[in-house]
């Protein structure tokens, strides 16, 4: 029964959408390479990471169908994202403030 649901979810995506997403990914890659050439000092890393995040969310949402999946998968991703946030922020509570 659930298999039916899952199937209908992913079938909503057409070949065209996939190709469009791929094009967007390639364009974003080119932008990020170009942006890294410009000297934006500390912002370079912020810009490149933001672009990487955008690319990753495209892959997760469309290629990996998360956009069309049940809520539970989004909850799982949320748990992982939150864990990452916790691990990084607490470690950096040390790293940033070392004397």
């Amino acid at each position: 029964m659930e298999a039916q649901e899952a199937k209908s979810h992913s079938e909503q995506i057409s070949h065209g959408t996939y190709v469009l997403v791929w094009l967007a990914l390639i364009v974003l890659t080119c932008i990020t390479v170009a942006a890294s050439g410009i000297n934006l000092a500390a912002f370079t890393i912020v810009v490149t990471l933001l672009i990487a995040l955008t690319k990753a969310s495209l892959v997760v949402n469309i290629f990996m169908h998360i956009k069309f999946e049940d809520k539970i998968f989004k909850v799982f991703l949320g748990i992982a994202g939150f864990t990452l946030f916790v691990i990084f922020s607490l470690t950096f509570a040390d790293v940033f403030f070392r004397r």
Binding site: I72, I79, A80, T83, V86, I87, L90, T91, A93, D94, V95, F96, F97, R98, R99
Partner: protein, 541 residues
């Protein structure tokens, strides 16, 4: 799941009888039946537990007098390393989830098996492989001597066979991850009709929280250990200070896993305690939702406190502030659980059977462990007592006095279900009394010695500690006597015990509705759940 018919051929059979093609040991070590896998784990776990106990006894024996008369420094260092690695990674972490969890999780939610039975079997094989790899490290270049924490840079520089031991632990990590994801999927997908999340037994809730910790935390340990191997074998600069590395970052990564691992060790016992207390109080549990939610809260806050292992290790003052604060907060949900358990006894009709007595011992010992934890969470006092015997005493109170005592208690609780036979209850009570006395004699002196400044991992000590050390050594003998009596009694019960009915204790969760021992399919008919897990119709409302 519910639409699957049970064929009558299973009526009267139990999972213990071979019905398939395989015979003898092969019918067990290749079985995908969660119950058989649970038993396999049980046997392997207790084998390694015995090894760990022997190592522990030898360590204590060394402390009979100062000066390292029995072992030299190298041997003693290997002893505590192996004792730690074996007890932590081969016994307590797989612990209740792999054994009793495997056995009872599907039954308690009314399922036929876990979601991925073959993966479950693979987990056991990975466990065995990991254990063998760790044991192989004994025969290579000398026993590993880093302590179970494998702190860099010592673990990178020592000439002993750390690589092998670390690789073994790495494999065990995978076993743990697979068990965790299996349990989460099982709980999400395989609950019997009517079994909503808030009708699940609290043991299942505890396993659910634990499984999340296993899935989310273990990979961090895996990569950390892998980095040690990469650094040792390929001399890649990652943690070694001579190549610019930062050993404190290793400690961060190590404890990001290893602190939550404490909750892998203690949450399942907490779940079992909730089961046992309600069963023997013959009433419903007090504050079901609070207990269920505090399992998740503990698993979650358990992630935020790893830094308290490093208060003197070189983290910033900001980090010290944050981690100390969060550490104190994690005490609260554990406290809530204890209060709820005690409140569950209120106006109950308490039957003082061996499992319940284990729970009383647990509440006693776990309270001491938890309350000494407050001393360690407080920065001013932690600086003094950390890395001393105080810490050793504290975590043995938590993990051994808390977790492992309930492992024993839960075995006493569920053994009649698993094998359809009862152990000798009188002997069980005596064994518990001996264990309890031995335990306190062994570990309470450690708290005192720690406060007086006895650092841990010393093969010798100053003469002023001699009295306390000797009390502790004698305590270890008593404890072992208790262990032997208890295990012998249980094993005897499995084979020769008196036969008992399906529900010897008057339990209300689903496992008590099926036969003892359960049939291969767990239930003759898939149960339909209509009421709360701890519904005692005989009690007044």
């Amino acid at each position: 799941m519910a639409d699957i018919a049970v064929t009558p051929e299973h009526l009267g059979h139990s999972y213990l009888e071979n019905t398939g093609k395989r015979k003898g040991i092969a019918a067990w070590i290749f079985s995908t039946d969660h119950k058989r896998i649970g038993i396999l784990y049980l046997i392997s776990l207790f084998t390694f537990f015995s090894v760990g106990v022997i190592l522990g006894i030898l360590m204590r024996l060394e402390m009979l007098q100062p000066g390292g008369k029995l072992f030299n420094a190298q041997d003693y260092n290997a002893l505590f390393t192996l004792h730690g690695v074996i007890m932590i990674f081969l016994f307590v972490i797989p612990g209740i989830p792999a054994t009793l969890g495997n056995f009872f999780l599907p039954i308690q939610i009314g399922a036929k098996d876990v979601a991925f039975p073959r993966l479950n079997l693979l987990s056991w094989w990975l466990y065995v492989t990991g254990a063998i790899v760790i044991l192989l490290s004994l025969f290579q270049h000398g026993l590993p001597d880093t302590g179970w924490t494998f702190y860099v840079p010592y673990s990178i520089r020592t000439g002993t066979d750390v690589t092998m031991a670390v690789f073994g632990v790495f494999i065990l990590g995978f076993s743990s991850i697979l068990t965790g994801l299996n349990f989460i999927t099982t709980i999400h997908r395989m609950r019997a009709p009517g079994m909503t999340f808030f009708k699940m037994p609290l043991f299942v809730w505890a396993l659910y929280a634990t499984a999340w910790v296993q899935v989310i935390a273990t990979p961090v340990l895996a990569i950390t250990l892998l980095l040690i191997i990469i650094e040792r074998v390929f001399s890649v600069g990652i943690f070694d200070p001579s190549k610019g590395g930062d050993p404190v970052l290793y400690q961060h990564l190590f404890w990001i896993y290893s602190h939550p691992a404490v909750y892998i060790m203690i949450l399942p016992p907490m779940g079992a305690v909730s089961e046992i207390i309600t069963t023997f109080s013959h009433r419903t549990v007090f504050g079901y939702k609070a207990i269920a939610m505090s399992s998740l809260a503990i698993a979650f806050i358990g992630y935020l406190v790893w830094g308290h292992h490093m208060f003197v290790g070189g983290i910033s003052e900001t980090a010290q502030f944050v981690f100390s604060l969060l550490t104190f907060l994690v005490a609260v949900p554990s406290g809530i659980k204890v209060f709820n358990w005690v409140a569950t006894m209120y106006k109950g009709s308490i039957d003082l059977q061996p499992p319940f007595l284990y729970v009383m011992a647990f509440i006693f010992l776990f309270s001491i462990g938890g309350l000494t934890g407050l001393v360690l969470g407080s920065l001013a006092t932690d600086v003094h007592v950390t890395a001393t015997y105080f810490v050793v005493g504290h975590f043995h109170y938590i993990i051994f006095g808390g977790g492992v005592f309930i492992f024993f208690g839960a075995l006493h609780y569920w053994l009649p279900k698993m094998f359809g036979r009862m152990y000798n209850k009188k002997v069980a009570n005596w064994a518990l009394a001996i264990l309890f006395i031995g335990f306190n004699m062994l570990y309470f002196p450690m708290l005192v010695m720690g406060y007086e400044g006895m650092p841990r991992r010393y093969f010798t000590y100053l003469p002023q500690f001699e009295t306390w050390q000797r009390i502790s050594v004698v305590g270890s003998w008593i404890l072992v006597a208790g262990l032997i009596i208890m295990l012998t009694n249980l094993i005897r019960g499995v084979f020769k015990g008196e036969k008992v009915g399906n529900n010897p204790w008057g339990g209300t969760t689903l496992e008590w509705t099926t036969s003892s021992p359960p049939p291969p399919e767990n239930f003759e008919e898939i149960p339909v759940v209509t009421h709360e897990p701890y519904y005692h119709p005989e009690a007044a409302n």
